[in-house]
Symmetry: C2
Subunit: 405 residues, 2 copies
């Protein structure tokens, strides 16, 4: 039986990134993955401009200014953002300038309106009550981004800040990778659809719903194929359909039991199984294979095992397929609130509630950690990872937790 | 000038939560907000069932079993998940049972197939190599959720785990709050649309794009009204249109400058301005008012100030309006990597990169922190909050950071 790291390595080695791209309008790009490095074609800001409402002056003309000894400047123009003036200012001349307006020629600084008094009218003068430093309240051209600079890398996910940056650069369409399509199939004669009434021995199919939501959260498109009964013919037909998408998730049916046809059917259809058990809890019966270029995951049927193995293996696989540069969640250091006894050979993924108390981050178990306890996934805002080798976790131990957004 | 906490309090006090609800199919509910407490109408699991593939027996019949001294049981039936058997088992009888199948009457435990050997055929017997504890590998009815228990509260956001839980309960449609519609209007004669070429003194309109993305990320619907020129008539017309939505964000035009008509126009249209400056950096010129039941934010035009004030004020307002119970981001304790000098009177929001190094979480500044440096929002995965009263941050100080997903 391989461990979690080995399993992840095998999976990621086989995942083919999508090649197809789309040109999308910028307002549709949130959460999509850039298919190219994006270079700035201009400076941001494009010109030196005022960071404040105030008066643009030559700084050295303010030398010695104070509340008791203001320096007086002639205001020769008003300059709003969006406009320019052609004149070059002379000594002791000022321009009343608005935030964002370009710094006129001949001046080098802006004094805030709060540090001035003016008469507002014809032959306007402004008194300046303090010394101004050269460059004060000036935002220089290219201060944010220089022309030619790479602002977004191929594989970056386009978050709000990136969208704003692209707009600043006047980029109205972006080449993004298409989203992978992930087919989801549940197996098991015990499953009934959620609209149907339960009869003895039956449970509702929940995994295609939670997996569908996880696929969407990972930025891919979920194609739910429903439930396949534990009959070879039906499995074969639905799995064949699933293999026509970019990735196939089969929920349930991968175990040592006699009724677990899934592996057989996958093999029959030409899938090479790379592994089918991983030393972890929850989630041991996890299979992974490749049907030509289509990755196939056999996920455990237990609801929590299903969600946890998705998090650990399928999510990074989807992100790699989607072209993302960063495919793993952020790990946070935290302090365990509970004792916990585990099997030394397995890596554990416990569902926890993270709390920030007195400047430290604590992780408390959500309650019972059985692989059937879906409530643990509802309550959790983090997954605590306990490494192989560890046997007893003690309250107060330092742990690593991934934060679930 | 009021402080950040006061501003947030005033805003939240005025935000009206949406009342209208929608009944949505479960697969459309990811990220939506439940409009009701949801009670379980059944136990999960609905019946005692096997957690393993193995043999269901009476535990006490295995007393004394070991590798050298197996106990032998007659296998009277095979039981797959989804099926039941009517028979009540007698002493030393076993049922070959699959994961998820209901525990038959008369037995109380399941021994894993790995701890057994059987002949597989007619008159099947199974040898059991170890003592089994009563209840071993049995998942009891209601172990996850008890009938009548509230599993989801009004105001919960429906994440993957919740979707799985609802499916388990056979709930195929959920009553959720409708999403608030947030209108976004940019003002400023310096702005040109992103498809247009820049002329001297002009910059591209980026704030409606970044704000649109932030509104979407907060789970609301963005309605972008474009750019209004700094002319009263045009502002009046577009602001009036904006006031027909649930919330209006006006970007730019709220400052001390003469060209800032926005406040005047808002007042003219009947908006009560509650405040228009907040002691923070970036973001000081922030206005908030109410036009009857419609909250109106006047956000600063600087791209970073715009995004930060959105994060601090508009996002919680949208989440409150959307009916969410939890409206603030998670704060993480971290250690500052940089020295930083600030003004004592203002609360600062610095853009940082969080890194987990040797079991501790560090926050490094993204670089220059000017309110025009949009790159800081591209690079950041966290916002470090420095309280009023603090003057000098030192590398090594403990700080609070919100993690941006």
């Amino acid at each position: 039986m391989i461990n979690v790291s080995q399993a992840r390595e095998i999976i990621l080695k086989h995942i083919p990134p999508v090649k197809e791209t789309q040109f999308l309008e910028l307002n549709l790009c949130l959460g999509r993955v850039s298919a190219v490095d994006i270079k700035s074609r201009e400076n941001i800001p494009p010109f030196d401009n005022s960071a404040m409402d105030g008066f643009a002056i030559k700084a050295f003309n303010s030398t010695g200014a104070s509340g008791g000894n203001p320096k007086v400047f002639a205001v020769i123009a008003d300059l709003a953002a969006g406009y320019t003036i052609a004149k070059t200012l002379k000594d002791n001349q000022a321009v009343r300038i608005m935030t964002g307006a370009p710094i006129p020629k001949g001046v080098d600084s802006v004094v805030m309106v709060e540090d001035t008094a003016s008469n507002e009218g014809r032959n306007e003068f402004v008194r300046i009550f303090r010394e101004v430093n050269k460059g004060e309240n000036v935002r220089y051209a290219g201060e944010d981004v220089k022309k030619g600079e790479i602002v977004i890398k191929k594989g970056d996910i386009l978050k709000s800040g990136y969208i704003g940056m692209l707009a600043s650069l006047g980029i109205s369409k972006v080449k993004v990778f298409r989203q992978p399509k992930v087919a989801i199939l549940a197996t098991g004669d015990e499953l009934v659809e959620i609209k149907e009434k339960l009869t003895p021995g039956k449970i509702h199919n929940s995994n295609t719903y939670s997996l569908g939501a996880q696929v969407q959260s990972a930025g891919a498109l979920a194609v739910v194929l429903g439930i396949a009964r534990d009959k070879k013919e039906e499995l074969r037909r639905k799995i064949r359909k699933g293999l026509s998408f970019d990735m196939l998730l089969v929920s349930g049916g991968i175990s040592v039991g006699d009724y677990d046809f899934v592996k057989d059917v996958l093999k029959e259809l030409g899938t090479t199984i790379k592994f089918w058990r991983v030393a972890m809890k929850p989630g041991k019966p996890l299979a992974f294979g490749m049907m030509e270029r289509v990755p196939v995951f056999g996920l455990p049927g237990n609801p929590v095992s299903s969600m946890i193995t998705f998090e650990q293996f399928v999510r990074p696989a989807i992100l790699k397929m989607a072209g993302r540069r960063e495919i793993f969640r952020f790990h946070l250091p935290a302090i365990a609130k509970d004792d916990f006894k585990k099997k030394k050979k397995l890596r554990y993924f416990l569902r926890v509630v993270l709390e920030n108390q007195n400047g430290a981050l604590y992780a408390s178990l959500t309650g019972p950690q059985g692989s059937g306890i879906l409530k643990s996934m509802v309550l959790a805002n983090g997954i605590m990872e306990l490494a192989e080798g560890l046997e007893n976790l003690r309250a107060g131990d330092k742990v690593q937790v991934t934060y679930l957004d």
